[in-house]
Structure formats: structure tokens, C-alpha cells
């Protein structure tokens, strides 16, 4: 029964009681001092909680947060640049290989596919760059291209890491 009145008093505080229920509650508290004390305590809790102000953050919180946000954003931008380089090289390598193996027409019976592509590529290089192709005639050009790409990619990665490390040192000096 007491719990029922707890619920009723909570609803009273929230303004959810109709007039009949309010009269019933009035009737009960006029006869039961314990219930009256409870209602007083409820009203006290309600009144004081309504007056409470939120806790305040340290004065420089917004400035410190915006500094952290800027740092995080810059890091994200750097990562984007790095990932875009990796993606570019990856697509270039895959694209080159796909091109090599699909651009040329099917090999004849005398050759297997790889040898045919290499020969065609060599011929293609001769047409394009003239005498320079003489250096490549004896090499597997596709392997050379892939190796060069990998070397470039690794070189750029180490360059990127070096620049990043250098930047960090400069920032540490400023701080």
C-alpha cells in the first residue's frame, strides 16, 4: 500500500494526477503523518534538484579540446595522403600487369602466354622508344617495371616517415 502511494506521489510531482487522485492523496496524508513526511521529502528533493546548476568544466577546456581536434585532423590528413600514395601505386602495378596480360592478343601455339607478352612488349617498346629498347630486349621488362615501382613506393614511404619524424621534432622544440 505504501509503495502505491510512493508511485502516486511521484506522479503528483510530475503533474500526472487528476483531481480525484489528488483529493485521495490529500485525504491519505491528512490521516497518515508518515505519508505527509514522505511527501515533504519528495517535494524537497524535487525543489532542490530543479535549482541545481551543472558542474563547470575547467576554464580552458574548449581551447584544449580544439587544439586536440586540430592535431587529430592533421594526423588524419597525413594518413589520407599516405594511403592515397599507396593506393595509387597499388592500382598502377595491378593495372600494368592486367594491361600486359590482356592488351595483346592470344599467343600462337609456339609460345606460352608469358613469353608471348614479353616479346610483344619488347616489340612495342622498340616502336615507341627506338634504340633505347635495345637495353631491354634481353630483360623481362614487366619484372623491371614492377621492381622499379616497388622501389619508388618504398622510397616514398621512408621519405614520408622522415618528414613526419622531422615535423614532430620541430613541434617538440616549439613546445
Amino acid at each position: 500500500m505504501k509503495n502505491e502511494y510512493d508511485d502516486m506521489m511521484n506522479k503528483y510531482l510530475d503533474g500526472e494526477l487528476n483531481q480525484t487522485e489528488i483529493n485521495e492523496l490529500n485525504d491519505m496524508i491528512s490521516r497518515d503523518t508518515e505519508l505527509l513526511e514522505k511527501l515533504k521529502a519528495y517535494k524537497l528533493v524535487d525543489k532542490h534538484l530543479k535549482d541545481i546548476e551543472p558542474d563547470t568544466t575547467p576554464a580552458d577546456f574548449t581551447i584544449r579540446f580544439m587544439e586536440r581536434l586540430n592535431t587529430v585532423s592533421e594526423k588524419l590528413e597525413s594518413n589520407k595522403f599516405f594511403y592515397s600514395i599507396i593506393t595509387f601505386f597499388f592500382i598502377s602495378i595491378v593495372g600494368s600487369l592486367v594491361f600486359l596480360f590482356t592488351y595483346f592478343s592470344e599467343p600462337t601455339d609456339e609460345y606460352n602466354k608469358t613469353e608471348y607478352v614479353i616479346e610483344k612488349l619488347n616489340n612495342y617498346s622498340v616502336d615507341i622508344i627506338g634504340k633505347i629498347n635495345e637495353y631491354f630486349v634481353n630483360f623481362d621488362v614487366s619484372v623491371a617495371l614492377v621492381s622499379a615501382s616497388l622501389i619508388c613506393m618504398l622510397g616514398l614511404y621512408f621519405l614520408y616517415e622522415f618528414v613526419k619524424g622531422h615535423k614532430r621534432k620541430v613541434e617538440a622544440l616549439h613546445n
Binding site: N10, A41, Y42, L44, V45, L69
Partner: protein
């Protein structure tokens, strides 16, 4: 300070004006800090969690579609960040959120808190801090943030009925604390 509406601020940030996010930070930092202090019971943890919450909000803002009020959406991030930190610290959430009856017994220490509290409001807030996180949280959201029970249910991811029950139980707990130690007169 720019006098922009919340919608204008959010749209401006979405267009790439990162500095405008400071306007949202200024608007919500104190209230969110109050929530986190109730959840984590520690000022330093609350501040760190607040930083994380704002960062998450910034990174997710492009996905905010105005399906709920920004405050509701943001407080949900704050609440989840608080819970994650508790979880990371290997605090047993289940224990902290267990039956409220285990938590509102005032001992000698609480009398000391009362003696040291500057005023009755501060004392009441310290009593709120003694409640389990979700109970304290529902009181802060309802009274300090003026949220409706519907909004509170969205933040805490519970049903409307459960939000209401939680509010009533939290009030009952505070009432019992006050009555048990006969502090009504002092609070009046």
C-alpha cells in the same frame, strides 16, 4: 561569439568549418561534464571522457541526420563513452547498476560530507553521486538538462516505461536518504 542556431552550426561544421565546433563544445561541455561525473565519479576521468565524446561527435557529425535532437544524439555518445571507460577500467557495471537498495545507505562518511558541504544543493548533489550511475544519470538528465522522459529513454536506450520507473526509484532513493538521516529541516 557567433550567434548561430544549432542547425546552422552543424551545417557549417559539415561544410568544413572546423572552428565552429567550439560553439557546440561551449554549449554542451558543462552539462555533458555533469553527466560524466555522475557516471565515472571522478573529475579527471570525466574530463578525459568529455574530450573523447566531443571527438567522437565531431567524427560522426557527417552521419547526423536530425532524426533526434542534437542534444539527445550527443548525450547518447557521452553515455556510451562513459560506459566504455568504466568497462576498460574493469569496473563491474553490473555491480554498479545493481539494485538501488544496496547503495543509499548513509554511513559516517556521509555525515562528514554533509558537514563539509557548502550548501544544501551541494549536499543533495553529493547524495545523487552516491546513487548507481544510471539512477544518478536519469536525475541529471531530467532536472539539470530538462530532458523529457522520452529523450532520456533514447539516451539510455531503454523503454519509456523503464525510464519513468528509473526516475521514480531514483527519487525514492534520495527521499529515503534524506528521511533516514532526518535532513529535511536542514534542506528547507
Amino acid at each position: 561569439m557567433k550567434n548561430l542556431s544549432e542547425f546552422e552550426i552543424i551545417e557549417s561544421i559539415k561544410r568544413g568549418n572546423q572552428s565552429d565546433f567550439s560553439l557546440l563544445v561551449d554549449r554542451y561541455k558543462d552539462r555533458a561534464y555533469s553527466l560524466l561525473k555522475r557516471i565515472l565519479k571522478d573529475d579527471m576521468d570525466a574530463e578525459e571522457a568529455l574530450m573523447d565524446s566531443f571527438l567522437k561527435a565531431y567524427n560522426s557529425l557527417k552521419n547526423f541526420r536530425y532524426e533526434a535532437k542534437f542534444s539527445t544524439w550527443f548525450y547518447r555518445i557521452v553515455y556510451n563513452t562513459g560506459l566504455t571507460i568504466i568497462s576498460n577500467k574493469k569496473r563491474k557495471i553490473r555491480t554498479e547498476m545493481s539494485s538501488i537498495d544496496e547503495h543509499f545507505d548513509l554511513g559516517e562518511y556521509d555525515n562528514e560530507i554533509y558537514a563539509k558541504s557548502d550548501d544544501s544543493k551541494m549536499y543533495l548533489l553529493k547524495l545523487v553521486d552516491k546513487l548507481p550511475p544510471r539512477n544518478a544519470l536519469v536525475l541529471v538528465l531530467f532536472y539539470i538538462d530538462d530532458m523529457t522522459l522520452n529523450e532520456i529513454s533514447q539516451v539510455l536506450d531503454i523503454s519509456l516505461v523503464n525510464a519513468k520507473v528509473l526516475l521514480h526509484r531514483s527519487r525514492n532513493a534520495l527521499r529515503d536518504m534524506i528521511m533516514k538521516h532526518n535532513y529535511q529541516e536542514e534542506l528547507l
